[in-house]
Amino acid sequence: MSVDRIETDVVVIGGGATGIGTLRDLSLRGIAAVLVEQGGIAHGTSSRFHGLLHSGGRYAVSDTLSAKECIEENTILRRIGAQCVEETEGFFVLLPEDDPDYVEPWLKGCAEAGIQTEELSVEEARRLEPEISPQALRVFRVPDSCVDGFRLVLHNAMSARRHGGRVLLYHKVTGISQANGNIQSVDVIDTLTQTKKTLYCRAVVNAAGSWSGQIAALAGLDVPVSPDKGSLIVFNHRFTSRVVNRLHPGSDGDIFVPHGSITILGTTSVATDRPDDTKPTREEILRLLAIGEPLFPKLQTYRILRAFAGTRPLYTPGNAQGRNASRNFQVFDHASDGLHGFFSIFGGKLTTYRLMAEKVCNAVASYLNVNTACTTKDQPMVEEASAEHLKAARHAFPVGDLSLMADRVGDDLEKVLDLAKKRTSSSSAGNPLICECEMVSLAEIESIAQDPDSHTLTDIRLRTRLGMGTCQGTFCALRAVNAMFEHDIPLSRDPLYELRAFLQERFRGLAPTLWGIQAQEMQLSRAIYAGVLNLRKETYAVKN
C-alpha cells in the first residue's frame, strides 16, 4: 500500500488551543507548518474546560508568575479574540465560612501581579447579581472574563490557514522517526479513511496536552505530564452574568462561569491515568452542587442540562499531584535528551495558550534559524463583522440579532450570509431556525456542513451550538437531519445512524445528572425517538 507523503518544515501535534496557537504563530512568522489532530477541532481538553479567561485572581496568592501571565494574556485575548471572549468581569466573594485573613494577602498578590480589584458593597454586588448569597461578607470586582475554548481554537485555525498553515483533522500520530539524532518524519493515519501518511519535516512540536506523554513515548522520550480529571456542570440558564469565585485558596466547585445562554459550575480535580477519561460521575456532580450552594443558595433549583469532564495536562515533576501541582507551563527542547528538532509544550491554562505558543515557537524558530518575531498578540484572529453588513442581511434570518451567529462562524460569515440570502430569495421561510434553543438557522448549518472538515452532526454541533441548549437535541437533531436530507446537504453517514449517534452522545452527558426537569426532557426524547420513530438500538446500533 502506498503511503501519502507530505513535506513541511514543522509538524505540530495536537489540535487544542496550544497546538493551534502554535500553528498560527509559526504561520504568522512565515514558517511552513502542518498540524495533525486525531479528532475534530479542539477534540481534547480545550473544549472540555471551564471557560474562564482568568484575570489571575485565582493564583494571586499561590503563584504570582501565573497570575501575572494570566492578566497579561487576558488583556491580549480580549483584543485579538473579541468574538471568543465575553467581557463579563468577575466577582470574588468572601462567605462567612471563608477565612477573612485571606483577603489581605490576596489583595496584595493581585496588586503585585497587576490585577485591578475594586471592593463593592454587598448590596451593590447583589443588585448586579441578585442570585448571589445574601450571606456574602465582602465582594471584589476583577477583570475575569469568559472564553469559548472551541471557538478560540477554531478562529486560531482560520487565522493560521489564511497565513498558509495546514490543519489535518482526524489524523492520529502513530509514529515519530528520527535519523542521527534529528527529527525526520511523523507517521499518521487518517482515522476516517484509514489511509496512512508520512509527514517529513525538520521539527516537531508536541502539543498533545494530556496526551503529550504518549507522543513523547513514540519518540522514545519521557515528559512529566499527568492527566488530572475535572468535572463540570452545565445549567440551563444564565443565573449570573459575571464570573463568580469564592475568595479563598482555590479548591473544588468554587467558580461559576456564565457562557452565552448557560452557566457552568466547576470543577473537581482527580488524578487519572487516561488522558481521555472524560466521564463525570454522579458523586462528583452531587459534590459540586453541595460545594456551590453557599455561593448561590438557589443552586439546587436551577435546571441542569448536562455534565462533562476534561483532563488537565499537569506538569508533575517528582509526582506532585492535583491542586498542589504547578499550573505553570513547560517548554522542553528535547535536544538535551539527544533528539534535535523535537519540542514539547504542555501544562499551563487555556488563558495562557498564546504565550505558550510564543515561547515554543521562539525555540523552534531559533532552531530553524528564522528571525521573524512573534506577532500573534497584535493581530485579531478574525475580522470583526460590521454592524451595517449584518443589518443588511437581517431579513434573511429568522431571528434579528445576528451578532451571536457572526461571532460563532468567524471567517465563514460571508458564506453563511450568502446562503441565507439565497435561501430566502425564493421563499420568506427559506431559512428557518433548526435549533431554537441556541438559535441556529438552516443556512448556518448548511454552510458548516459543506466545510470539508465537517463529517458528523457532532462536528456541526460544535461549530453552531446545535443541540447544546435546553432540549439537548430532542427536537433539533431530527429537524437538522431532516432539513439536510431534504435540501441535499451532504452527510457522510446514513442519516438515521447519524441521528442515533448524535443523540447517544448527548445522552452521555445527561446520564450523570438525570433528575428533575432534565429527566422529563429525556422521557420526552425517548418517547419521540424510541417510541414514535422506533429508532432503537437493535435497528441502528451505534459503535462508541
Binding site: 440551563n236 440558564h237 436551577y302 440579532d401 431554537e436 434553543c437 427536537f475 426537569i517
Partner: protein, 405 residues
C-alpha cells in the same frame, strides 16, 4: 426594570406553538416557546430584543396549553415592557392602551360627537393613518358611563352589598350589562356599588408595554381591594380579562406590590351560581317565562386562562328558556386592541376565522360571551348580535324579551 422569569421549566415540547393562534396565522411570529422561555435565556445575555415579539397578542393560549405551567405570555409581556423602556411606544399604541385616560378626558363631550370617530369615513381614514385599521370593529361610547349612572339607581333596603369592578368596557361602552348585573344582584339581595378609586385593571397597558402606568393602576386597585377584602365585602368582575389581571397577572408582573393576604375577586357568573346554591337567588320564576333564547357561547381566552371552568355556560344552562351551545373554536383574534392595529388586523381576522365559521354555521341567531372586545369582533365578522351572558340571564329570569342592537 428587569424581572426575568426562570425559563427552566420549559421542555421545548412545542405544545404551546401548536396552540398559539398567532403562530398559526403568521410565520412572522417566532411563536410562544421561542419568543418566550427560549428567548428569555438570551435576554439574560443582553441580546437585542427580537422584532417578532410585537406579534404576541397576550391571548394566553400558550399558557393554557403548557403542560409545565410556564408563564409564556407573561414572559413575553415582561420583555415587551423592558423593550418599551428602550424604544418608546407609538402614539397609536398609547391611545389604544389608555382607553380609560382618553375616555375621562373626553368625558364632557357628548357621545354622538365621540362616536363620530367610529362612523365617519373621514375619521376612520384619519385613524387608519395613525395605525388603527379602517375596517376594524370599534365600540361606541354610551351616553352616560356606568359609574356615573349607578348612583342614580335606587338600591334601598339591601342588607348585604357587593363591590363591582366594572372594567373599562362595561363602564364606557356597555353599561347595559352592568345594569343587568345590578338587577340580578339586587334580586339576590345585594346592593351593588363601585368604589370610587377603582381604575383600569391595567391589562391594556401591559399589552402595550406601559409598565409604569400599569404599576400605578395596580397599586391603586390593590389598595381598594385590600380595604374591601378586609371588610369582607365580596368583589366581583364581569370581565374575564380584568379578573385574570387582578387575581393572577399583577402578582407576576409586580410581585413587590403584592400584599401577604390573597386578594379575592369573584367572577360575576360564579358569584350568581353561589347565590343560587345558597338560595339567595331564586330562579324558579324563570321556569314560567317564555323568552326562548337560542344562542351560541364563546368562552374568551382570558376566561379559559383562569382555569376555573366556564361558569357562564353553567349558569345559562339553569334556564330552560335558554338553548345554549358552546362554540369551542378557539380565539376570536381581537385580543383587546390587537385586532384594531393596522399591521395586525389581517392576523386577527385570520385567527378568528374558525370561530366565525363555527358561529355562522351553528344556525344560532345570537352569540354570548363575557368579553366586550370578543363580542365586537364576532358581531362584526358574523353579522350576528353578541351579548354578555348576564343579559340573557336577566331576560330569562325577568321574563323580558331581549332587545338587541
Amino acid at each position: 426594570m428587569s424581572i426575568h422569569l426562570d425559563p427552566d421549566k420549559c421542555l421545548a415540547c412545542t405544545t404551546c406553538v401548536v396552540h398559539c393562534p398567532v403562530a398559526e396565522a403568521t410565520p412572522a411570529f417566532l411563536g410562544p416557546r421561542m419568543i418566550g422561555p427560549a428567548f428569555e435565556r438570551f435576554r439574560l445575555l443582553g441580546i437585542v430584543e427580537d422584532d417578532s415579539l410585537k406579534y404576541c397578542a397576550n391571548c394566553k393560549n400558550c399558557e393554557i396549553a403548557c403542560p409545565q405551567n410556564v408563564p409564556v405570555a407573561t414572559i413575553n409581556m415582561l420583555a415587551r415592557m423592558a423593550q418599551c423602556q428602550e424604544i418608546p411606544p407609538s402614539f397609536r399604541d398609547w391611545i389604544v392602551a389608555h382607553g380609560e385616560v382618553l375616555a375621562r378626558g373626553l368625558k364632557y363631550f357628548p357621545a354622538w360627537l365621540k362616536n363620530m370617530g367610529t362612523h365617519l369615513s373621514l375619521m376612520r381614514t384619519l385613524l387608519d393613518w395613525i395605525g388603527i385599521h379602517k375596517d376594524c370593529p370599534m365600540p361606541n361610547f354610551a351616553k352616560t358611563a356606568f359609574r356615573d349612572h349607578l348612583p342614580r339607581l335606587s338600591q334601598k333596603g339591601f342588607a348585604k352589598s357587593v363591590a363591582f369592578f366594572p372594567g373599562c368596557y362595561i363602564n364606557y361602552y356597555d353599561p347595559g350589562t352592568g345594569f343587568d348585573l345590578v338587577w340580578l344582584l339586587n334580586q339576590a339581595g345585594y346592593r351593588v356599588f363601585v368604589p370610587k378609586d377603582f381604575v383600569c385593571c391595567g391589562i391594556p397597558l401591559i399589552s402595550g408595554g406601559f409598565e409604569k402606568d400599569a404599576r400605578d393602576n395596580t397599586r391603586t386597585n390593590l389598595r381598594v381591594l385590600a380595604e374591601l377584602n378586609a371588610q369582607k365585602i365580596p368583589v366581583i368582575s364581569a370581565c374575564p380579562s380584568c379578573r385574570l389581571m387582578l387575581t393572577r397577572e399583577i402578582g407576576e408582573f409586580f410581585p413587590e406590590l403584592m400584599p401577604k393576604e390573597k386578594i379575592s375577586i369573584d367572577d360575576a357568573q360564579s358569584f350568581l351560581l353561589k347565590c343560587i346554591a345558597t338560595g339567595e337567588l331564586d330562579i324558579k320564576t324563570a321556569h314560567n317565562s317564555s323568552v326562548n333564547i337560542s344562542a351560541i357561547y364563546h368562552a374568551p381566552c382570558h376566561l379559559r386562562a383562569q382555569g376555573a371552568g366556564l361558569p357562564a355556560l353553567e349558569l345559562l344552562s339553569y334556564f330552560p328558556d335558554i338553548a345554549i351551545c358552546e362554540a369551542n373554536a378557539g380565539c376570536c383574534g381581537i385580543s383587546g386592541s390587537y385586532g384594531f392595529k393596522k399591521e395586525k388586523y389581517a392576523i386577527a381576522q385570520s385567527v378568528g376565522a374558525r370561530l366565525f365559521q363555527r358561529i355562522t354555521t351553528s344556525g344560532r341567531p345570537l352569540v354570548a360571551s363575557e368579553c366586550g372586545t370578543c363580542r365586537l369582533q364576532i358581531a362584526q365578522a358574523t353579522k350576528k348580535p353578541a351579548t354578555h351572558p348576564l343579559t340573557l340571564v336577566r331576560a330569562a329570569l325577568q321574563g323580558r324579551p331581549l332587545t338587541l342592537g
